[in-house]
Symmetry: C2
Subunit: 318 residues, 2 copies
């Protein structure tokens, strides 16, 4: 079986598209056309779960042949409890059925045995009794937080090896305060984000892939282009998940530093800039599903071309 | 309304019990008597959700008048997808109905707006459309990860102020590799865990409580008693959630350092040592619900007495 990182790289090359569409639905911003059908549902959380899924389904249908991957952000589903989580599960399943790679953005972790439980639930298989196992979320990649140290990260790597999955470990995040901990310089002269980056780089030894890339990746915010250059050197063969394009202010040029000379090594995410692009053209009240989907498609194409053009200008053609 | 930290401290004093029972159910270790009823359920995840809830309900019934709080560990529910999360929701609701304080151990966080979404879902209220809000998990406390920095933690503090809730931010965790990041000494001479501790100590200014304690607390592993002493000094008025007693090897004496002279300031968690204590006396196949509950009660009483005796010996009587 092809390693998931090779599948991702092939799709990126075929589509000429290192783009990830973030599925971060916000009920108050979803066009009314998605809500009509469920207006008489007494269980409001159930109704919202159905709306989130229908909304995502249209986004997926609009982008599945333009981008290699989608990234549902867990918080926006979990906020509605189990009904929201059901919409999260259905979204992952539907995206995979359309051939998309799914990055489960949940930033999970815990110590020892408990971290392993998250890894099994999100990426692997879980014990359902009588020596049987089943998949729960079955995502392709999961985002993981490193504060608890190496023995909390190892079980995620093990699960990736066992089930041909990948992770993106938080290294240098895109938010203004990311430096509070991540940029601290330690006595050895390393910054904290370098400590995490070195752990990730080391995992490359455990995988043999066709493209030479490693499915243990890093989250590197587009808002910090200088750090991206530095981190690219520490982790030459790990995939970067790059948030921060568009709504958070990073430009396509900023993002190029996250890529290698072969035009690979990174995927760039945009969420609000794509899934709420419709607001520039239509009203929430009157926008139809067809109109909505068209705006998603156009915004995704524009982003893709913007990133690819910037890569060409930097001689990093895919 | 009394601040949640005052409610917690009053319960601790009334019950003479700074103990938290961790609800970390593992399907393969639950006595068969909980499984019989659901053996014909075709949806295995639904069956497991029902079993986890029944199992927790008995634990809660056994301990609600001995301890002030329970701590369901989210990973053990989420691993079964939305059906597992439904059991998590039901467990929180049932525990609160019995007067227990609920610590939602999910170690969540994300940047800016998304962190706020987790805070609303776990502790506050969420938008359900038409200008209406509803609660999702409605826990009393949530555990939170600090790697993303101050602007990721602030929304949790805001939600605590708004809804009279609390958080425990990871400072020094109980696992062997916790030092990989947390113990790193920065150029300023501070360790990373001290950087986080100082953020937490500063939040005390934002709360006025009867007991003087602050509901923005810290996770401080019992396995690191020296660091607990140091952290107690940096955060004199923040509550510590102390994992690592029992199964992870810390003794009652080790744990005393996490407490102040008034015998307050910390709650000690045990999960496996209580909920799977039955194994010392009974077989999984034949243990009845009544026998199971009795072992939970006895193990909790033993732990409570062990901790309280150690506190008395250290002159830290509650």
């Amino acid at each position: 079986m092809k390693n998931i990182v090779d599948v991702l790289n092939e799709k990126i090359k075929e589509m000429k598209s290192p783009i990830v569409v973030g599925l971060d639905p916000v009920i108050g911003e979803i066009p009314n056309c998605y809500k009509e059908k469920y207006k008489n549902e007494a269980d409001k959380f159930k109704a919202i779960g159905e709306i989130l899924f229908d909304f995502n389904k249209d986004i997926i249908d609009a982008v599945y042949n333009i981008v290699p991957a989608v990234k549902p952000q867990n918080a926006f589903y979990e906020m509605y409890g189990s009904e929201g989580v059901k919409a999260f599960e259905r979204t992952i399943k539907y995206a995979k059925s359309k051939g998309l790679i799914v990055i489960d953005d949940a930033k999970r972790n815990d110590i020892g045995n408990t971290g392993a439980v998250y890894a099994k639930g999100h990426l692997g298989t879980v014990d359902i009794g009588n020596n049987e196992e089943a998949t729960a979320f079955n995502a392709d990649f999961l985002t993981v937080s490193p504060y608890l140290g190496g023995d909390s990260l190892d079980p995620f790597v093990d699960e990736c090896i066992k089930h041909n999955k990948g992770v993106f470990i938080l290294v240098k995040t895109s938010n203004p305060s990311s430096g509070d901990i991540q940029d601290r310089v330690t006595e050895s002269g390393e910054k904290i984000y370098e400590v995490v980056a070195k752990y990730i780089a080391k995992q490359t030894e455990k995988f043999e892939t066709e493209s030479g890339y490693c499915p243990i990746g890093a989250v590197v915010g587009a808002t910090y282009p200088e750090q991206a250059t530095e981190l690219r050197k520490i982790m030459p063969k790990n995939i970067f998940l790059v948030p921060g394009y568009g709504a958070q202010g990073a430009t396509a040029k900023d993002i190029c530093n996250a890529f290698n000379e072969d035009g690979l090594g990174a995927v760039v995410n945009s969420s609000r800039g794509i899934i709420f692009a419709y607001k520039k053209k239509y009203d929430k009240e009157t926008c139809t599903r067809e109109q909505y989907m068209e705006t998603v498609k156009v915004a995704t194409e524009l982003m893709k071309n913007d990133i690819v053009n910037a890569l060409i200008a930097e001689n990093k053609k895919i």
